[in-house]
């Protein structure tokens, strides 16, 4: 491993991106091990880059990302087992409130399509809705079973991560493959579109997780009422996202379905905020 490699932009950027990812781990785990995890990842980057250059870094990222997803879920499940008897009413209420604001952010985002405000609003939507969906999984996860619970958690965690990492990967790939590619307007527009699509892939993943949870919820009925809410909250946007990849014109159905989704998300959050059963209060 060379010291020169350590200063290569792709290595520096990879370490920064990995450091950001570590924020997804539980606090205690992060405080104890993040410094050493970053160190180990840095060593892996140097080895991969010295052996196979940019291709080595890409392969490393694929493996690291899969490792990250699996280990984050594992750490939270471990934490959940420990906290099972310490269920906090206030945490669930806060999750519900976050989901309410997440739904509102989503509807607000519709009004800012095409403007510079869209991306920050979507970012806040992702953070709030992820926090809300983690609360949904905590409150109702045991009733829906392994598949329903984990697809929800998976979507809630992976969604924001993809929105952060996706655009970085797109920018890096384009810079590496075609140094002067920004010269023409057409290429620049295509790059902008790719970056936006990479960013919006995060909400799509989050909604897919929610949709799968919703399908299970329809049959098992874990919610006290309106068990169709999770499915309605999740199912619309992904279809339009994949439609946006091939068609450039939005239509009125897009707005209508997204508003319905936003309202359903808000209602789901409201229900979570207020659905604190006596058994949970008695545990605190």
């Amino acid at each position: 491993m060379t010291n020169q490699s350590a200063e290569h932009p792709i290595i520096v950027l990879s370490i920064k991106a990995y450091s950001l990812l570590l924020n997804a781990y539980p606090t205690k785990f992060r405080e104890e091990f993040s410094k050493h995890m970053i160190q180990a990842f840095r060593d892996c980057c140097l080895q991969a880059f010295d052996a196979k250059g940019f291709k080595g870094i890409l392969v490393l990222w694929v493996a690291t990302f899969l490792d990250f997803i699996q280990s984050v879920i594992s750490e939270y499940l471990q934490k959940e087992v420990q906290m099972k008897t310490e269920l906090k009413v206030e945490d669930i209420r806060l999750s519900g409130r976050a989901l309410v604001f997440g739904g509102m952010c989503f509807m607000l985002a519709l009004g800012t399509l095409g403007s510079m405000l869209l991306l920050p609003i979507i970012f806040f939507f992702l953070l709030l809705t992820s926090a809300g969906l983690v609360g949904v999984s905590k409150r109702y996860g045991e009733k829906v079973g392994w598949f329903g619970k984990n697809t929800l958690v998976f979507g809630a965690i992976l969604g924001p991560i993809v929105s952060i990492i996706g655009p970085i990967i797109v920018i890096n790939l384009v810079q590496t493959l075609g140094g002067n590619a920004f010269v023409s307007d057409e290429v620049e527009n295509t790059l902008e579109r790719l970056i936006v699509m990479a960013f919006l892939a995060g909400p799509v993943i989050l909604f897919i997780g929610l949709t799968l949870f919703g399908i299970v919820a329809l049959s098992i009925k874990p919610l006290p009422r309106w068990n169709i809410l999770p499915l309605i909250s999740g199912i619309g946007f992904p279809f339009f996202f994949f439609g946006l990849l091939t068609f450039s014109d939005l239509n009125q159905f897009f707005y209508l379905i997204c508003i319905v989704q936003g309202v359903a998300l808000t209602l789901l959050g409201y229900m979570l905020e207020n659905d604190i059963s006596e058994e949970i209060i008695a545990q605190t």
Binding site: M1, Y25, F29, F33, H36, A40, F41, D43, C44, E75
Partner: protein, 123 residues
């Protein structure tokens, strides 16, 4: 909890990650990246351990007192960065030996049933 008060049987069978970390530490203390490298070499790349899996396993192994922290010091073969080293405990050695014996017994059963692949047999 002292090492002697723990029942070793409750740890068995070990997960591949834990077994391979103990195997890597069996011949001396190592830091995280060295453990990852050695696991990859020992398993011929079949077990790939990223930092998340490695330190998640290390956390649980520390709690179970299978390993303990050693010094923080630089690796002479690498750069000047100080790295946290880990070493196997006596309990860890006992558990590892028991697991190795369990796996050895399984290989004996395979040989007895003539199911163990011969050297050079690629079918």
């Amino acid at each position: 909890m002292t090492e002697t008060s723990q029942n070793p049987d409750k740890f068995l069978p070990l997960t591949p990650a834990v077994f391979n970390i103990l195997l890597a530490l069996a011949d001396g203390e190592k830091h995280g990246y060295r453990i990852m490298q050695e696991v990859q070499e020992n398993t011929k790349g079949r077990v790939l351990m990223g930092p998340g899996t490695l330190y998640g396993s290390i956390k649980r192994m520390l709690e179970a007192e299978l390993i303990e922290e050693s010094d923080e010091k630089p690796d002479p073969a690498m750069d000047n960065q100080r790295r946290r080293y880990y070493r196997i405990t006596n309990l860890g050695k006992r558990i590892f030996t028991m697991e190795a014996e369990r796996l050895e017994e399984q290989v004996r059963v395979l040989r007895r049933k003539n199911l163990f692949p011969k050297v050079g047999d690629t079918s």
